[in-house]
Structure formats: structure tokens, C-alpha cells
Symmetry: C2
Subunit: 152 residues, 2 copies
């Protein structure tokens, strides 16, 4: 019996980039891994692992692989964790670099933004606490334009 699995469309260009990122890390470029990546890439609001697992079951990707792949993609910098208003752990597709998330508490849409200046704050914290600051995690939340319009 033959299983037909429809893959999400992608450009040769993007495939080459992905292959490069995987290859550089010594990881294989499998059908399942690309399916996971394509799913997250198409969801602006990101997904929790259970959500992703449910969606990917239809594409023939098992739950264990979803867990393993999310961890891998996070390590490769292709996914980032965010936490929605309810504190739920979600993963969103990420470009490399220093990005943060602006999350709508109503529809869950995530808008990435680049640029934040916490250098002054970090300098103060260093002198006050003796910590060696290594990074930060910032999420801004509120209502997006359309939800703002609906929710009065």
C-alpha cells in the first residue's frame, strides 16, 4: 500500500538554505523535519507542541518526532519559545538575530520586532547584583489592531 503525503510548497531557494542549516549542524534533512518547519513557518501565532503534534499527525509525523524536532529547530535558531497570556509555551518561527515578540492576548497573533535597548538596564543590574548578564527574554502583549476594533 502506497502512502501519498502532500508536502507544503517551498522554493528550491529555501530548501537549499534549510539543507545548509541542517547540514552545518550535522543533522539530516528529513521529510518530517521539513514538515514541522513548514507548519511553524506558516503560523504567525506559533503553536504549542500538542497543537503541532495534532496537525502533523495528518502528515504522517508522530508525536515523538514533533518533540524531538522542536528541540532541534530551537537549537538551530529556527524556532523561538514565547509564552502567551496564559503562560503557555509556544514555539514560533524565528529569523536569526535578536528578536522579541509582540503577542495579541485575544487572537494570539505574534509580531516579531527587532531592536530593544536594555543596555542601560543591564549595566545597572550588573553593578547592583554582581550578575554577569548573558541575555534577556522580553515579550510585550496587548491587543492587535483588529482585535482592538472588535473588543470595543
Amino acid at each position: 500500500m502506497i502512502k501519498f503525503i502532500i508536502m507544503a510548497k517551498r522554493s528550491k531557494q529555501e530548501e537549499a538554505e534549510l539543507r545548509h542549516v541542517f547540514g552545518k549542524a550535522g543533522a539530516r534533512f528529513t521529510r518530517q523535519r521539513e514538515a514541522v518547519w513548514q507548519l511553524f513557518k506558516g503560523k504567525a501565532r506559533g503553536l504549542t507542541i500538542p497543537e503541532a503534534a495534532k496537525a502533523l499527525k495528518r502528515k504522517g509525523v508522530g508525536p515523538a518526532t514533533v518533540y524531538r524536532t522542536a528541540a532541534l529547530l530551537e537549537g538551530l535558531g529556527l524556532l523561538r519559545r514565547v509564552h502567551d497570556a496564559g503562560g503557555e509555551r509556544r514555539f514560533v518561527a524565528s529569523r536569526p538575530g535578536h528578536y522579541h515578540a509582540l503577542v495579541c492576548r485575544s487572537c494570539g497573533q505574534v509580531v516579531d520586532f527587532e531592536g530593544c535597548d536594555l543596555s542601560l538596564l543591564e549595566r545597572v543590574l550588573t553593578t547592583e547584583t554582581g550578575f554577569r548578564i548573558e541575555g534577556h527574554h522580553l515579550e510585550v502583549f496587548g491587543l492587535c489592531a483588529s482585535c482592538k476594533a472588535v473588543n470595543k
Copy 2:
């Protein structure tokens, strides 16, 4: 058979404050709820719910109550969520007001700090994206003074 349950020490002063916070919200001040609160108050690095549940079992507090109480205390502003370097959800005792966490990635110690100026950033985000900004979540991580000394 009589069960003796040793409660954590506390001042009459503090008990009165707690009773007030609970009462104002129409919640009862129970032995279990105080035990949960005392546990978190004594842990600078906070705890995950399973960690708290394990510690509180010895004090005669069941897991279900730990979950219920953590949610309640968070609602009352007595606990705040933080996420450690591994992305784990922890709860830490919190004073009311606008605080953030400085988390040591090695020992997990949490230092609260007050004061952050994101007003400029939020203003830019508002005009750029049309979001109505309602708040933010900021965590800074690194190595505390003593872990810095140990880890070279």
C-alpha cells in the same frame, strides 16, 4: 490517630496581611494555602508545581490543592510566573507592583528588580503595529556572583 503538622513560622503581622488579601478576594484562609505560600516565600529561585507538590506532600497538602492554590495566589498577585533558562514554568513569591526577574542560569536563584523603562519602546510599537500595549514580560538571565566565581 492524630496528625501533627508543623507550620512554618510567621508573624502575627504577616498573618493579618495575608488574611486581608484573601478576605478581600472572598477566598478563605486555609492551613494549606498558607503552607503553599510559606513554601514559595522561602524559595528565592521559585518552584515548579511538581516541585512544590512534592515538598508539600510532607505537610499534608495534596497535589490538586497545589495546582488550585498556585493559580489563586497568582491571581492575588502573591506569585508570579518566571521561566528559567530551560523554559520551565516556575512560580516565585512576588511583592505587588511592577517587578521583573533576574535569573541565574546555573543555580536558578531569582533576584527581583523593580524599574524598567520600556515606555519609549512601547510607544514605537504602538505606532508601528497598531497594537494597544497592555504590558510586558521581561526576564534577564546570566550568572550570579557566586556561580560566576565557580564557573571560572
